[in-house]
Amino acid sequence: MTTVTDPAEAPFGIVVDKAQEHPRSWRKLKDASLAYALLLPAGVIFAVFIFYPFLKNFDLALHRTNPFNPDLSEYVGLEQFGDVLGSKEFFDSLWTTILFAIMTVPVGIALGLGLAVLAHQKLKGIAIFRTIFSSTVATSVAVAAVMFYTLFNPNIGLLKSVSPTPPFLENPDWALISIAIVTIWQSLGLSFILMSAGLQAIPDELVEAAQVDGAGPWSRFRNVTLPLLSPTMFFAIVVGTIFAFQTFGQIDILTEGGPLKKTNVLTYFIFTELRVQRNPGTAAVLAIALFAITLVLTLVQLRLLERRVHYQR
């Protein structure tokens, strides 16, 4: 803007207009009110559906729900935290979720990386393979669960000859593994897309330089590609783990937390406390625990991001 603010530069050296006297502060005020107005729609949604329910969890967690009349819940302080977080059911659920993350995340990333490396070639028709490898993003966990439902079925599925007794989804030793297989397949497309993007971001010159230095294909992959891909992989590990802690749909469709609660992951546990037990108090304690875990994972991610920025400088 070319507004003249300095009286010395103003025509005839006189400032007449009132608005010209404080043009900056006036404009500032206008800009600020516009900014707040623009932030309002998102702000209201965040306040009502994210921050309020988040904080309300702490209030709910401090009250024990009366099983007969929810309006008569009583303040019990931190007692309920101890009860829930110290219970065997919580420990089992947390352990199940961690096991599930261990089963799905590394395998999913490794498979995605493998496919991405294979598809990162200049070959005729490679675009078709890229589309196929990313195709599972078109499925949801519900669709994937229904698709695998027959494969796991002991009477009709293609896996019936290798089906254990009791069958996969009813077998305490196999149920979680089965859910993990469904999940790995469903998230393969996403993993492939992430890893491909990571590979494409690596400058060709670096790989070429290693080539000139006489590095073989495996050595180039190990010593050049993999280290440069590590930020993408850290991101995928953290986000994948956060996703694993939010697993719900495939379990609701295939096992409903069973058999013997062997697939009762944290989110499913929250759901049953809320919907089946009708106990918002205990559900809130679990939700806070889920938040704490996610927070730690996010902070780890931020830490690594920071390190990466320094590294690139």
Binding site: I45, L115, L123, T294
Partner: protein, 298 residues
């Protein structure tokens, strides 16, 4: 010479010379390398596609054939699709998913554009703090908020309505963050030129900033579509019956009511995938941009 060619072919494909020229002059090793690579890609593609393929096949088989694990439909039972569509209510489920998703995508684009504009182009008190607050929303998983959100939706009188399905998702910190980045890339000269032309902020947003940020908005739209189309937990919590059920939870219902006639359930799964498959084929680039926005560029 021939060995280095072979290594080249196997390891650093981006350096390999175009296949058409070398394949004819090069040693047979080069050809074998190609065959092996295509074979490997083919096998992996078949494995990845197999669950989808077998579901499509099973949706067309009759029950006895499914039990025999046939791999090809010799006598396709197309009626399973109309069964899933009408008796299985899949048409209705898909309609509900579309309405919910459309509201969420449009809502997110609007709220994210407005907020991102403020963060990118305006100066105001508490700007940094508010930006951190927006980013903080990303740290709270939706699962953590469901307990009270359910109560809120009931209290607002929007339980079991499209509003109840969509309103909690009308704003995202991710969208605001992504669009702010795009807006910050708008050249300073354009702002000055627009100011000289007497453009106010709203006109500048609509005529300059938004058109320039269109690729990012498209990426955000595809990302939002995918995320809301695939939602499971919230639609399950806030809908009472078939009337408003979305296709994801509709599939469970379809399975439960067709415990014997698997083929109808599979037809339903295929019908649920088709809209998203078409969308993603059309907007592959935008999807990749949206999904990798956080990962690669940081």
């Amino acid at each position: 010479m021939s060995t280095s060619e072979g290594v080249l072919a196997a390891g650093v494909p981006e350096l390999a010379t175009p296949t058409t020229t070398t394949a004819t002059i090069g040693p047979p090793k080069r050809v074998w390398g190609l065959v092996v690579r295509y074979a490997l890609l083919m096998v992996l593609a078949l494995i990845v596609l197999f669950p989808i393929y077998i579901t499509a096949v099973n949706s067309l088989l009759n029950i006895d054939q499914i039990a025999k694990s046939k791999l090809f439909p010799t006598d396709p039972q197309w009626h399973t699709y109309s069964d899933a569509w009408t008796e299985g209510h899949l048409g209705n489920y898909l309609k509900n998913s579309f309405i919910m998703t459309a509201i969420i995508v449009i809502g997110q684009l609007v709220t994210a554009t407005l907020a991102a504009y403020a963060f990118a182009f305006l100066e105001f008190p508490l700007k940094r703090t508010l930006f951190v607050v927006f980013l903080a929303t990303l740290m709270i998983p939706f699962e953590v908020t469901i307990i009270t959100n359910l109560t809120t939706v009931v209290d607002l009188g929007i339980y079991d309505t499209y509003a109840g399905l969509a309103i909690p998702f009308l704003a995202t910190g991710f969208g605001a963050f992504l669009l702010r980045q795009a807006f910050l890339g708008v050249p300073r000269d354009l702002q000055d030129a627009a100011a000289l032309d007497g453009y106010g902020h709203l006109r500048f947003m609509a005529r300059v900033a938004v058109p320039l940020a269109r690729p990012t908005m498209a990426a955000l739209a595809v990302f939002a579509f995918l995320a809301s189309w695939n939602q499971y937990l919230w639609p399950l919590l806030v809908t009472r019956d078939d009337r408003l059920r979305t296709v994801q939870i509709g599939l469970k219902q379809l399975r439960n009511t067709n415990l014997e006639s698997f083929n109808v359930t599979f037809a339903g799964a295929i019908l649920a995938v088709i809209p998203l498959a078409i969308l993603l084929l059309l907007f592959q680039k935008q999807l990749v941009r949206g999904l990798t926005a956080g990962a690669v560029k940081g």
